[in-house]
Amino acid sequence: MADVDTQRDAVIAALDNVAERLTAEKSYLTDLDSAIGDADHGSNMQRGFSKAAEKRDEFADMDPDDIVKTIGTTLISNVGGASGPLYGGSIMFASQELDGGITAETSVAFAEAYLDKVKDRGGAQVGSKTMVDALVPAVHTYKKSIEQDDLPPLEALAKAVDAAERGVQFTTPIKALKGRASFLDWRSVGHQDPGATSTLFIMEELLATAEEYLDGDVERDARAADAVRRDE
Protein backbone atom coordinates (compact mmCIF):
# COMPACT_ATOMS: atom_id res chain seq x y z
CA MET A 1 0.00 0.00 0.00
CA ALA A 2 0.93 3.60 -0.39
CA ASP A 3 2.70 6.07 1.88
CA VAL A 4 2.42 6.27 5.64
CA ASP A 5 -0.25 8.98 5.57
CA THR A 6 -2.50 6.88 3.38
CA GLN A 7 -1.91 3.84 5.55
CA ARG A 8 -2.82 5.85 8.65
CA ASP A 9 -5.99 7.10 6.99
CA ALA A 10 -6.85 3.54 5.98
CA VAL A 11 -6.37 2.19 9.51
CA ILE A 12 -8.52 4.95 10.99
CA ALA A 13 -11.17 4.44 8.30
CA ALA A 14 -11.17 0.69 9.03
CA LEU A 15 -11.59 1.38 12.74
CA ASP A 16 -14.47 3.76 12.07
CA ASN A 17 -16.15 1.21 9.81
CA VAL A 18 -15.72 -1.58 12.36
CA ALA A 19 -17.02 0.60 15.22
CA GLU A 20 -20.02 1.64 13.15
CA ARG A 21 -20.76 -1.94 12.10
CA LEU A 22 -20.51 -3.29 15.65
CA THR A 23 -22.82 -0.51 16.82
CA ALA A 24 -25.32 -1.57 14.16
CA GLU A 25 -24.97 -5.26 15.08
CA LYS A 26 -24.90 -4.73 18.84
CA SER A 27 -28.29 -6.25 19.59
CA TYR A 28 -27.81 -9.03 17.09
CA LEU A 29 -24.52 -10.12 18.68
CA THR A 30 -26.03 -9.84 22.13
CA ASP A 31 -28.97 -11.98 21.01
CA LEU A 32 -26.54 -14.65 19.80
CA ASP A 33 -24.65 -14.42 23.07
CA SER A 34 -27.79 -14.58 25.19
CA ALA A 35 -28.52 -18.02 23.73
CA ILE A 36 -25.20 -19.59 24.73
CA GLY A 37 -23.25 -17.00 26.75
CA ASP A 38 -23.73 -14.12 29.10
CA ALA A 39 -25.50 -11.75 26.70
CA ASP A 40 -22.89 -9.04 26.63
CA HIS A 41 -20.89 -9.65 23.46
CA GLY A 42 -22.65 -6.98 21.42
CA SER A 43 -22.35 -4.24 24.00
CA ASN A 44 -18.78 -5.23 24.89
CA MET A 45 -17.56 -5.12 21.31
CA GLN A 46 -19.48 -1.94 20.56
CA ARG A 47 -18.04 -0.21 23.62
CA GLY A 48 -14.47 -1.30 22.95
CA PHE A 49 -14.25 -0.31 19.32
CA SER A 50 -16.17 2.93 19.88
CA LYS A 51 -13.69 3.91 22.63
CA ALA A 52 -10.85 3.16 20.24
CA ALA A 53 -12.45 5.23 17.48
CA GLU A 54 -12.75 8.14 19.90
CA LYS A 55 -8.95 8.29 20.08
CA ARG A 56 -8.61 9.59 16.54
CA ASP A 57 -6.91 12.79 17.72
CA GLU A 58 -4.10 10.76 19.27
CA PHE A 59 -3.63 8.88 16.01
CA ALA A 60 -2.78 11.95 13.92
CA ASP A 61 1.00 11.63 14.30
CA MET A 62 1.28 7.91 14.91
CA ASP A 63 2.63 5.21 12.63
CA PRO A 64 0.04 2.64 11.47
CA ASP A 65 1.46 -0.14 13.66
CA ASP A 66 1.28 2.09 16.76
CA ILE A 67 -2.32 2.96 15.97
CA VAL A 68 -3.16 -0.73 15.68
CA LYS A 69 -1.35 -1.37 18.98
CA THR A 70 -3.33 1.42 20.67
CA ILE A 71 -6.57 -0.07 19.35
CA GLY A 72 -5.53 -3.33 21.01
CA THR A 73 -4.75 -1.77 24.38
CA THR A 74 -7.99 0.21 24.28
CA LEU A 75 -9.95 -2.98 23.65
CA ILE A 76 -8.18 -4.71 26.55
CA SER A 77 -9.31 -1.99 28.92
CA ASN A 78 -12.82 -1.52 27.57
CA VAL A 79 -14.19 -4.74 26.09
CA GLY A 80 -14.20 -6.92 29.19
CA GLY A 81 -14.83 -10.62 29.62
CA ALA A 82 -12.80 -13.02 27.53
CA SER A 83 -13.20 -10.83 24.44
CA GLY A 84 -10.89 -8.16 25.90
CA PRO A 85 -7.76 -10.33 25.97
CA LEU A 86 -8.77 -12.36 22.91
CA TYR A 87 -9.45 -9.47 20.54
CA GLY A 88 -7.46 -6.66 22.21
CA GLY A 89 -4.50 -8.68 23.42
CA SER A 90 -4.12 -10.41 20.06
CA ILE A 91 -4.35 -7.17 18.08
CA MET A 92 -1.79 -5.61 20.41
CA PHE A 93 0.55 -8.58 20.02
CA ALA A 94 0.17 -8.83 16.24
CA SER A 95 0.65 -5.08 15.70
CA GLN A 96 4.43 -5.52 15.84
CA GLU A 97 4.24 -7.35 12.51
CA LEU A 98 3.14 -4.08 10.89
CA ASP A 99 6.31 -2.33 12.00
CA GLY A 100 7.49 -2.00 8.41
CA GLY A 101 4.17 -0.63 7.19
CA ILE A 102 1.12 -2.39 5.79
CA THR A 103 1.95 -4.58 2.80
CA ALA A 104 0.70 -7.89 1.47
CA GLU A 105 3.55 -9.57 3.31
CA THR A 106 3.14 -7.83 6.67
CA SER A 107 -0.63 -8.24 6.59
CA VAL A 108 -0.15 -12.01 6.27
CA ALA A 109 2.28 -11.92 9.20
CA PHE A 110 -0.23 -9.84 11.19
CA ALA A 111 -3.05 -12.28 10.47
CA GLU A 112 -0.95 -15.28 11.45
CA ALA A 113 0.32 -13.64 14.64
CA TYR A 114 -3.24 -12.67 15.57
CA LEU A 115 -4.51 -16.21 15.01
CA ASP A 116 -1.62 -17.75 16.95
CA LYS A 117 -2.25 -15.48 19.92
CA VAL A 118 -5.99 -16.18 19.93
CA LYS A 119 -5.39 -19.94 19.83
CA ASP A 120 -2.68 -19.75 22.43
CA ARG A 121 -4.68 -17.57 24.82
CA GLY A 122 -8.03 -19.28 24.44
CA GLY A 123 -6.86 -22.84 23.90
CA ALA A 124 -9.56 -23.39 21.26
CA GLN A 125 -9.20 -25.41 18.06
CA VAL A 126 -11.35 -25.60 14.95
CA GLY A 127 -14.55 -27.33 16.06
CA SER A 128 -14.64 -25.79 19.55
CA LYS A 129 -17.40 -23.40 18.42
CA THR A 130 -15.46 -20.18 18.89
CA MET A 131 -14.00 -17.34 16.84
CA VAL A 132 -11.23 -19.77 15.87
CA ASP A 133 -13.71 -21.52 13.55
CA ALA A 134 -13.94 -18.33 11.49
CA LEU A 135 -10.34 -17.23 11.92
CA VAL A 136 -8.49 -20.40 10.94
CA PRO A 137 -10.03 -20.78 7.46
CA ALA A 138 -9.82 -17.01 6.93
CA VAL A 139 -6.15 -16.68 7.83
CA HIS A 140 -5.12 -19.83 6.00
CA THR A 141 -7.02 -18.73 2.90
CA TYR A 142 -5.49 -15.27 3.01
CA LYS A 143 -1.97 -16.62 3.39
CA LYS A 144 -2.37 -19.20 0.63
CA SER A 145 -3.99 -16.70 -1.74
CA ILE A 146 -1.12 -14.29 -1.36
CA GLU A 147 1.85 -16.60 -1.02
CA GLN A 148 0.91 -19.51 -3.28
CA ASP A 149 -1.74 -18.23 -5.66
CA ASP A 150 -0.13 -14.82 -6.01
CA LEU A 151 -3.46 -13.00 -5.79
CA PRO A 152 -3.63 -9.25 -5.13
CA PRO A 153 -4.33 -8.49 -1.41
CA LEU A 154 -7.86 -7.29 -2.10
CA GLU A 155 -8.84 -10.50 -3.83
CA ALA A 156 -7.10 -12.54 -1.14
CA LEU A 157 -9.00 -10.68 1.56
CA ALA A 158 -12.30 -11.25 -0.22
CA LYS A 159 -11.61 -14.98 -0.32
CA ALA A 160 -10.66 -14.88 3.35
CA VAL A 161 -13.96 -13.22 4.23
CA ASP A 162 -15.82 -15.94 2.34
CA ALA A 163 -13.85 -18.55 4.24
CA ALA A 164 -14.67 -16.84 7.54
CA GLU A 165 -18.33 -16.83 6.61
CA ARG A 166 -18.34 -20.56 5.99
CA GLY A 167 -16.58 -20.91 9.32
CA VAL A 168 -19.36 -18.97 11.03
CA GLN A 169 -21.98 -21.25 9.47
CA PHE A 170 -20.00 -24.26 10.67
CA THR A 171 -20.34 -23.12 14.30
CA THR A 172 -24.13 -23.51 14.36
CA PRO A 173 -24.55 -27.30 14.34
CA ILE A 174 -21.62 -28.12 16.64
CA LYS A 175 -21.29 -28.34 20.40
CA ALA A 176 -19.31 -25.72 22.30
CA LEU A 177 -16.11 -26.97 23.91
CA LYS A 178 -14.80 -23.65 25.23
CA GLY A 179 -16.04 -20.68 27.16
CA ARG A 180 -19.33 -20.15 28.96
CA ALA A 181 -21.19 -21.96 26.18
CA SER A 182 -19.38 -25.23 26.96
CA PHE A 183 -21.23 -25.45 30.29
CA LEU A 184 -24.43 -25.82 28.28
CA ASP A 185 -23.14 -29.02 26.68
CA TRP A 186 -25.63 -30.20 24.03
CA ARG A 187 -27.86 -27.20 24.55
CA SER A 188 -25.26 -25.10 22.71
CA VAL A 189 -26.01 -27.00 19.48
CA GLY A 190 -28.07 -25.06 16.95
CA HIS A 191 -26.79 -21.62 17.91
CA GLN A 192 -24.35 -19.57 15.85
CA ASP A 193 -21.25 -18.56 17.77
CA PRO A 194 -21.16 -14.84 18.64
CA GLY A 195 -17.34 -14.55 18.57
CA ALA A 196 -17.06 -16.12 15.13
CA THR A 197 -19.82 -13.77 13.99
CA SER A 198 -18.19 -10.58 15.29
CA THR A 199 -14.91 -11.75 13.75
CA LEU A 200 -16.68 -12.02 10.40
CA PHE A 201 -18.22 -8.55 10.81
CA ILE A 202 -14.78 -7.06 11.54
CA MET A 203 -13.30 -8.80 8.51
CA GLU A 204 -16.12 -7.58 6.28
CA GLU A 205 -15.39 -4.03 7.33
CA LEU A 206 -11.68 -4.52 6.70
CA LEU A 207 -12.60 -5.69 3.22
CA ALA A 208 -14.94 -2.73 2.65
CA THR A 209 -12.15 -0.37 3.74
CA ALA A 210 -9.61 -2.16 1.58
CA GLU A 211 -11.94 -1.87 -1.40
CA GLU A 212 -11.95 1.85 -0.85
CA TYR A 213 -8.19 2.19 -0.44
CA LEU A 214 -6.95 -0.47 -2.81
CA ASP A 215 -9.02 0.90 -5.63
CA GLY A 216 -11.63 -1.41 -6.91
CA ASP A 217 -14.37 -3.82 -6.08
CA VAL A 218 -14.04 -7.56 -6.00
CA GLU A 219 -16.50 -10.32 -6.52
CA ARG A 220 -17.34 -12.46 -3.55
CA ASP A 221 -18.60 -16.01 -3.70
CA ALA A 222 -21.30 -15.24 -1.20
CA ARG A 223 -22.50 -12.20 0.64
CA ALA A 224 -22.11 -12.72 4.34
CA ALA A 225 -24.79 -10.14 5.01
CA ASP A 226 -27.28 -12.59 3.51
CA ALA A 227 -25.92 -15.61 5.30
CA VAL A 228 -26.28 -14.17 8.76
CA ARG A 229 -29.49 -12.28 8.16
CA ARG A 230 -31.86 -12.45 11.09
CA ASP A 231 -35.59 -12.15 11.28
CA GLU A 232 -36.53 -8.53 11.30
Binding site: G80, G81, P85, R121
Partner: protein
Protein backbone atom coordinates in the same frame (compact mmCIF):
# COMPACT_ATOMS: atom_id res chain seq x y z
CA UNK B 1 6.70 -13.12 51.36
CA UNK B 2 4.82 -14.50 48.36
CA UNK B 3 1.64 -12.52 47.74
CA UNK B 4 -1.69 -13.97 46.66
CA UNK B 5 -4.35 -12.54 44.38
CA UNK B 6 -7.84 -14.00 44.19
CA UNK B 7 -9.53 -13.40 40.84
CA UNK B 8 -13.23 -14.09 40.54
CA UNK B 9 -16.04 -12.87 38.30
CA UNK B 10 -17.73 -11.77 41.51
CA UNK B 11 -16.11 -9.14 43.74
CA UNK B 12 -18.03 -10.61 46.68
CA UNK B 13 -16.66 -14.08 45.96
CA UNK B 14 -13.09 -12.79 45.64
CA UNK B 15 -13.35 -10.85 48.89
CA UNK B 16 -15.03 -13.70 50.72
CA UNK B 17 -12.44 -16.23 49.62
CA UNK B 18 -9.64 -13.84 50.59
CA UNK B 19 -11.26 -13.43 54.03
CA UNK B 20 -11.51 -17.17 54.64
CA UNK B 21 -7.96 -17.77 53.44
CA UNK B 22 -6.54 -14.91 55.51
CA UNK B 23 -7.88 -16.65 58.61
CA UNK B 24 -6.12 -19.86 57.57
CA UNK B 25 -2.90 -17.96 57.00
CA UNK B 26 -2.99 -16.75 60.58
CA UNK B 27 -3.58 -13.19 59.48
CA UNK B 28 -0.07 -12.94 58.04
CA UNK B 29 -0.77 -13.87 54.45
CA UNK B 30 -0.79 -11.10 51.85
CA UNK B 31 -4.01 -11.68 49.93
CA UNK B 32 -5.55 -9.17 47.55
CA UNK B 33 -9.00 -9.82 46.03
CA UNK B 34 -9.58 -8.80 42.41
CA UNK B 35 -13.17 -9.45 41.50
CA UNK B 36 -15.84 -8.10 39.23
CA UNK B 37 -15.76 -5.61 36.44
CA UNK B 38 -17.12 -2.07 36.73
CA UNK B 39 -19.11 -3.10 39.78
CA UNK B 40 -20.69 -6.01 37.91
CA UNK B 41 -19.94 -9.64 37.12
CA UNK B 42 -16.79 -10.19 35.08
CA UNK B 43 -13.04 -9.77 35.25
CA UNK B 44 -10.82 -6.90 34.21
CA UNK B 45 -7.12 -7.10 33.28
CA UNK B 46 -6.50 -3.63 34.72
CA UNK B 47 -8.02 -4.51 38.11
CA UNK B 48 -6.06 -7.76 38.22
CA UNK B 49 -2.80 -6.05 37.29
CA UNK B 50 -3.26 -3.49 40.08
CA UNK B 51 -3.95 -6.30 42.56
CA UNK B 52 -0.83 -8.19 41.45
CA UNK B 53 1.32 -5.12 41.90
CA UNK B 54 -0.27 -4.45 45.30
CA UNK B 55 0.26 -8.03 46.50
CA UNK B 56 3.93 -8.09 45.50
CA UNK B 57 6.60 -7.13 47.99
CA UNK B 58 9.38 -8.30 45.68
CA UNK B 59 9.11 -12.05 46.28
CA UNK B 60 6.43 -12.74 43.67
CA UNK B 61 2.71 -13.39 43.47
CA UNK B 62 0.56 -16.48 42.96
CA UNK B 63 -2.84 -15.87 41.39
CA UNK B 64 -5.90 -18.04 42.03
CA UNK B 65 -8.62 -17.77 39.39
CA UNK B 66 -12.17 -18.97 38.89
CA UNK B 67 -12.83 -19.65 35.20
CA UNK B 68 -12.98 -18.49 31.60
CA UNK B 69 -12.08 -14.84 31.21
CA UNK B 70 -10.55 -14.84 34.70
CA UNK B 71 -7.77 -17.02 33.32
CA UNK B 72 -7.23 -15.02 30.13
CA UNK B 73 -7.40 -11.64 31.82
CA UNK B 74 -4.95 -12.83 34.48
CA UNK B 75 -2.48 -14.04 31.86
CA UNK B 76 -2.72 -10.64 30.22
CA UNK B 77 -2.39 -8.82 33.55
CA UNK B 78 0.77 -10.78 34.36
CA UNK B 79 2.23 -9.78 31.00
CA UNK B 80 1.34 -6.15 31.69
CA UNK B 81 2.51 -5.99 35.31
CA UNK B 82 5.97 -4.52 35.51
CA UNK B 83 8.73 -6.29 37.43
CA UNK B 84 6.47 -8.78 39.20
CA UNK B 85 7.26 -12.49 39.16
CA UNK B 86 3.76 -13.95 39.02
CA UNK B 87 2.21 -17.35 38.27
CA UNK B 88 -1.30 -18.75 37.99
CA UNK B 89 -2.17 -21.82 40.07
CA UNK B 90 -4.40 -24.34 38.29
CA UNK B 91 -6.52 -25.06 41.33
CA UNK B 92 -10.07 -24.82 42.65
CA UNK B 93 -10.24 -21.22 43.76
CA UNK B 94 -11.40 -21.55 47.36
CA UNK B 95 -9.51 -24.67 48.41
CA UNK B 96 -6.47 -23.60 46.42
CA UNK B 97 -6.37 -20.18 48.05
CA UNK B 98 -6.58 -21.73 51.53
CA UNK B 99 -3.70 -24.08 50.79
CA UNK B 100 -1.67 -21.29 49.23
CA UNK B 101 -2.27 -18.96 52.17
CA UNK B 102 -0.94 -21.55 54.62
CA UNK B 103 2.11 -22.17 52.44
CA UNK B 104 2.98 -18.48 52.04
CA UNK B 105 3.40 -18.18 55.79
CA UNK B 106 6.11 -20.87 55.76
CA UNK B 107 9.64 -19.47 55.91
CA UNK B 108 10.69 -21.80 53.09
CA UNK B 109 7.91 -20.80 50.75
CA UNK B 110 8.78 -20.09 47.10
CA UNK B 111 6.63 -19.14 44.15
CA UNK B 112 6.84 -22.74 42.99
CA UNK B 113 5.99 -24.24 46.38
CA UNK B 114 2.95 -21.99 46.75
CA UNK B 115 1.73 -22.95 43.27
CA UNK B 116 2.22 -26.63 44.08
CA UNK B 117 0.39 -26.41 47.42
CA UNK B 118 -2.48 -24.59 45.74
CA UNK B 119 -2.68 -27.22 43.00
CA UNK B 120 -2.69 -30.05 45.56
CA UNK B 121 -6.18 -28.82 46.41
CA UNK B 122 -7.39 -30.44 43.19
CA UNK B 123 -7.07 -33.80 44.90
CA UNK B 124 -9.36 -32.93 47.80
CA UNK B 125 -12.38 -35.16 48.26
CA UNK B 126 -15.20 -33.73 50.32
CA UNK B 127 -17.00 -37.05 50.72
CA UNK B 128 -14.75 -39.99 51.48
Amino acid sequence: MIGLVVVSHSAKAAEGIADVAAQMGGGNARIVPAGGEDGGIGTSPDTIREAIEEADDGDGVVVLVDLGSAVMNTELAIEMATDVNAAIADAPILEGTLNAAVETTSKKATLQSVVERAEEAREYRKLN
